[in-house]
């Protein structure tokens, strides 16, 4: 492995993100090639976390744009501060100014409310990390607009003219694949698919993210989750769920997994009524049994 990629991996780990080579390579390439990074994967595998860690390790600001259906330019790019503009107009009128003068006055930068995309390209102190979260939730029209911003890093505001990026931001897009991302946008980015972690990696994540956890419990939870994901589930739990679960178990003062405790806390990991119903008591106890290290040779 190249030392540069290794150092990205180490830096991410120092900031609390256990990155396998695939993730470290993608982050390194995105940084070097200055291309947006599109991250896909199941819910809870740590897609958003990549952007957060990237911002932390570069010591820069994280600007987040949460996508939803109906997201438009007004909420993602800029909006004028109408009440302020209106007041200004009234005052200017009383001062007896002419309309063109007033217009020039109220369409200045100080009346502009910057939304995430505009903030990301106008930040003066160096490039920020722009996180476009759950881009699959926005609609096609917005995706096309996003494509335009991401290719030119400039936006045009009719009243002000074209604003160019001070520094080209590092862009991370995430998608839960609730719909297929358009090909044009996909081509503009580098692509990373994050899978559920291996047992060894999951245990390491648990130990680094939940400080109070014993090696024993992290191991058992890791094994349990790995086995659980092997089942046919409507909603497979991610690492985010494992972390919550370990946290819950610690608060309940559980040193080990046992059937009763798992049943009480099942809501931390299974979040679909059908999945909970389909898991019979027998299956549950065998899952718990199998996650005990006594029955399995420790790897």
């Amino acid at each position: 492995m190249r030392p540069e990629i290794r150092s990205v991996q180490d830096a991410m780990e120092r900031h609390g993100y256990i990155a396998e080579p695939a993730i470290a390579t993608a982050v390194f390439l995105a940084q070097e090639m200055r291309k947006p990074l599109l991250i896909e994967g199941d819910a809870g595998v740590g897609k958003t976390e990549v952007a957060k860690v990237l911002a932390r390790l570069m010591g820069t600001e994280l600007i987040r744009l949460q996508c939803y259906e109906g997201l438009d330019v007004n909420t993602s790019l800029y909006e004028w501060n109408y009440p302020r503009q209106m007041l200004r107009v009234r005052i200017a009128e009383q001062e007896g100014r002419d309309p063109s003068q007033i217009e020039e006055m109220i369409f200045g930068r100080s009346y502009l409310l910057e939304r995430p995309l505009l903030r990301a390209i106008t930040r003066r102190e160096g490039p920020p990390v722009l996180l476009v979260d759950e881009v699959d939730r926005s609609d096609q029209g917005f995706e096309a607009f996003l494509l335009e911003v991401l290719s030119d890093f400039q936006v045009t505001i009719p009243e002000l003219g074209t604003i160019r990026a001070e520094h080209v931001p590092y862009v991370v897009l995430t998608s839960n694949r609730s719909r297929e991302i358009g090909d044009a946008l996909r081509r503009r980015c580098l692509y990373l698919f994050i899978e559920h972690p291996s047992l060894e990696k999951e245990v390491r994540i648990l130990r680094s993210r939940v400080p109070g956890v014993s090696g024993q419990l992290a191991d058992e939870v890791g094994r349990f989750m790995q086995a659980l994901r092997g089942r046919r589930l409507l909603k497979s739990p991610g690492v985010a769920e494992s972390i919550d679960w370990v946290d819950a178990l610690i608060r309940l003062r559980q040193e080990h997994l046992d059937v009763e405790a798992v049943q009480q806390t099942l809501g931390c990991i299974l979040k679909d009524q059908n999945d909970i119903r389909n898991l019979t008591a027998d299956e549950l106890s065998s899952l718990v049994q199998d996650s005990r290290p006594a029955d399995l040779p420790t790897p």
């Binding site: 492995m1 190249r2 540069e4 990629i5 080579p21 695939a22 390579t25 993608a26 390194f28 390439l29 070097e32 090639m33 291309k35 599109l38 896909e40 199941d42 259906e69 109906g70 438009d72 007004n74 909006e79 004028w80 109408y82 503009q85 209106m86 107009v89 009234r90 009128e93 309309p99 007033i102 217009e103 609609d139 096609q140 029209g141 917005f142 839960n176 694949r177 609730s178 719909r179 297929e180 090909d183 996909r186 081509r187 980015c189 580098l190 692509y191 990373l192 698919f193 899978e195 409507l234 059908n274």
Partner: protein, 376 residues
């Protein structure tokens, strides 16, 4: 890497990927070259990861990618070339379809006499009406183009759902402050008229899963014509065909003439007009595509007669999974056109509890009635 010219090798690799159905553009190749310059090109796994990232290979294509990457890394020639067909293509599979396409001349002449007679004796009963009611299994290839025209007129009714996105409107709607304000400037801040925005009309999202097995043979061509017409309005429509296995057709479809598209499909769908395994095929859909394609806005349409040879337990569980994610599930069964038909086929019975609508699809009129169901 052993061979001297990495650019040539990467280009060959990209072409091999394209031949296996992955969309790798020249731009992606450029990204690939840039990435190769940044990583250690003597480290196999690093090159592998870098190319997978830079060429934007999606999860579902990883196995194929890995296989071809093996050749790339070893510096081998790629097995397939432009002349040879891709792996999943079965030579000779197009024969039954060819028959379908060109139809038999008998039906053609039959139709002429029927239509001619009708025009003469029944004024006001236009051939269009006849065409609408004509069962698909009596239609000939020549009807296809007339149907195509008809479909063109019908299908635009589809775009009727309102999205949550707001667009400028002249009529009612919520006040658009930005535009109102701009207008008010001209009248020294007096709001004489208010600009408004209202919810946009939205394209329906459809996933169509067509049975192309032997028992559906007579209907498939017309159903696919319908599907292609739908795709022109609802561009996000995804299309799958299944018989014993599932094939995603969407990449093969374009807005060319329907006949040409069907030719191409027949060449690429394995076992066109073979037997059916509905349960397995739908499970395959659930495993491979459901997460990306189904959401609260998608309508799923399954065209099949429900004559299944596979496992009905699989079919039920797949249908349950589909129903839980989709907005609506519609099953179109051409046999329903016969008033004596009862949905008692094993496959049909298993699917029934998970359907929002079970509708006939034996002629154009029945498909026309389907349109409001798709749009609502």
């Amino acid at each position: 890497m052993t061979q001297p010219d990495p650019i040539v090798r990467l280009a060959r690799f990209a072409r091999a990927l394209r031949e296996r159905g992955m969309r790798v553009t020249v731009n992606d190749e450029l990204d690939g070259m840039l990435a190769l310059e940044l990583v250690d090109t003597t480290d196999r796994s690093e090159v592998h990861l870098a190319l997978r990232t830079a060429l934007k290979i999606q999860r579902r294509d990883w196995e194929t990618f890995d296989e071809l990457f093996g050749h790339f890394w070893a510096g081998e020639e790629f097995a397939s070339s432009a002349r040879e067909p891709p792996k999943h293509r079965i030579p000779g599979a197009s024969a039954p379809l060819r028959k379908l396409l060109h139809g038999s001349e008998e039906t053609l002449s039959d139709r002429k006499s029927v239509a001619g007679g009708a025009e003469g004796s029944l004024p006001g009963y236009s051939p269009e009406v006849l065409l609408r009611r004509k069962p698909f299994d009596e239609c000939a290839a020549s009807d296809l183009s007339a149907m195509e025209k008809l479909l063109h007129r019908l299908v635009p009714k589809l775009a009727a759902r309102h999205s949550r996105r707001l667009v400028p409107t002249r009529g009612r709607g919520v006040v658009d402050l930005r535009r109102s304000f701009r207008r008010a400037i001209g009248t020294s801040g007096e709001f004489l008229t208010l600009a408004r925005r209202a919810r946009a009309l939205e394209e329906p999202r459809l996933v169509l899963i067509c049975d192309t097995s032997g028992s559906m043979e007579a209907h498939t061509r017309f159903l696919l014509a319908f599907v292609l017409a739908l795709k022109r309005v609802a561009r996000r429509t995804e299309i799958f065909a299944f018989n014993t296995a599932l094939t995603r057709l969407t990449p093969w479809l374009s807005s060319e003439k329907i006949a040409a598209t069907l030719e191409r499909l027949a060449a690429n769908v394995p076992d066109w007009s073979g037997g059916t395994r509905i349960g397995e095929s739908l499970s395959e859909f659930v495993a491979g595509y459901q997460a990306q394609l189904l959401n609260a806005k998608t309508t799923v349409v399954i065209f099949s007669d429900g004559l299944d040879r596979g496992d009905t337990a699989l079919l039920s569980s797949a249908m349950r999974a589909i129903q839980s994610r989709a907005r609506k599930v519609i099953w179109l069964n051409p046999l329903l056109g016969d008033p004596r038909y009862r949905p008692t086929a094993r496959g049909m019975e298993a699917a029934l509890p998970y359907l929002d609508h079970l509708a006939p699809a034996h002629n154009l009129e029945s498909l026309e009635k389907l349109i409001p169901l798709l749009a609502a």
